[in-house]
Symmetry: C2
Subunit: 238 residues, 2 copies
DNA sequence: AGCACTTAGGGTCGCGGTGACCAAAACCCT
DNA sequence: AGGGTTTTGGTCACCGCGACCCTAAGTGCT
């Protein structure tokens, strides 16, 4: 089964989500960082951060590396989204892109050097992007919204401990709709994914809320075909 | 952003499901075809059908083509599963495999020339396969089972029209558990995905069941990022 | 013809989860 | 001390689902 030269370039791109106040509503909403292309094709258009896969790194490692290089971000969550392989996605060259999606905390997003070539945009209000990247972002947004309801990815937007209101606000930001505080509490309590700590947060002019942490002994519903083993050198911080 | 030679081979493999009676229980269950490798690495091991992506064909087209070439099958359903890209998946060469999963009807599976190099196995009882293919099949099976509950993929195992009992038996075969006939009926009826025809099936020694067909006007819940547009020359038969 | 048999198809009922809404608790600030 | 604000718990109607029962309508046998 000898193989001829394929001349198919293998790229990795990542849709990175962080939560920030939306410029219009003022409510927290998903934002993503884009990089401005400085070469053809689609020169000067905004595009997803990405790059080529090195010969001796896994796809996930490539995604994490490109993320770090272009936006200086280390995600708290990273998952494969889809492999895009239409023949005419890129003019001239044949490029297959394996796209990942990632979540970062707001404080991490602050650190990312924003400038002429990297800028954050509200995920629901993007300019026309290079390649098929608008379609990709829409799909990533759909996955984020469906998955936040049955998985535990909201933790990736939060610190080690958090109040139920903070967790609820993450869900509200992702789903873009208000949730009943009391019902939300019961849901997460009965799901068993949360463990109450002994501490509460004082200082607000209201009843001090309890701090919770995630129950590490519970499995994620769906963490892909590779289960839990981290491949290669990727380290997902908790 | 000049790119060096990557020397990463891009392959496509497919997990093909058909329903057949299980050798032990006798009940209908998922089977998949495997091909025997005739070259290193993993020579003489069973493996998923697949091959290299041609420079000017989409990933989906490549999957459909390899399917046809190796097993003479045309799937009624074809969807991307995952891109596997660990560095050491294949000894020697660096191979990234975009894996698809497909559904074929039992009568189609009959046609597939079975022989020394192609054989069907019960999906839950496989030998040790080449590469990471055991993991891949397990993941595909998981996807099939979760998706049959909220999507309409069961139609891919059936003909144009079918009775509710036939549809239920497909679900039972996939989920490997019996379902209540009355409750199943209400579920699919209230979902609106089915349209009753005027015909019934006579000949059985019992009340003749009505034939149904799928409601084409209803959208699939999740058909991937590319929506419904068929890319390239892939023709998925109905 | 009539009866037995078999599957189709419909009815009922209890349970659990969800959402809408209300009420109390606990803290801060004035 | 009292008002304001958020947390936290309670109630209740509703819906979907599963378990279970019953009737409908054919075939084939006697």
């Amino acid at each position: 089964m000898a193989r001829e030269r394929q001349d198919i370039a293998l790229a990795v791109s990542t849709v990175i989500f962080a939560l920030r106040p939306h410029p219009e509503t003022g409510l927290s909403a998903p934002w993503i960082p884009l990089v401005r292309r400085i070469a053809a094709p689609f020169e000067s258009r905004w595009a997803l951060p990405g790059g080529w896969v090195a010969p001796r790194e896994s796809l996930e490692d490539a995604a994490a590396r490109n993320l770090l290089e272009t936006t200086a971000l280390e995600p708290t969550y990273l998952e494969q989204l889809y492999a895009f392989g239409a023949v005419d996605r890129s003019p001239e060259e044949r490029v297959v892109s394996v796209v990942y999606w990632a979540l970062v905390r707001a404080d991490q997003a602050q650190q990312s050097r924003e400038g002429e070539n990297v800028r954050w945009f509200p995920a629901d209000d993007l300019p026309q992007l290079a390649f098929d990247h608008n379609v990709i972002v829409d799909y990533a947004l759909w996955r984020l919204r469906t998955k936040v309801e049955y998985s535990r990815i909201a933790r990736a937007f939060l610190g080690e401990t958090f109040t139920l209101t903070e967790l609820r606000e993450v869900h509200e930001a992702v789903l873009q709709k208000p949730l009943d505080a009391a019902n939300f509490r019961r849901q997460v309590e009965s799901s068993g994914t949360l463990v109450p700590t002994d501490s509460v947060v004082t200082g607000g002019r209201h009843r001090p809320p309890r701090l919770y942490r995630y129950n590490e002994t519970i499995e994620l519903v769906d963490n892909g075909p590779l289960g839990h083993e981290k491949t290669g050198s990727t380290r997902v911080v908790s």
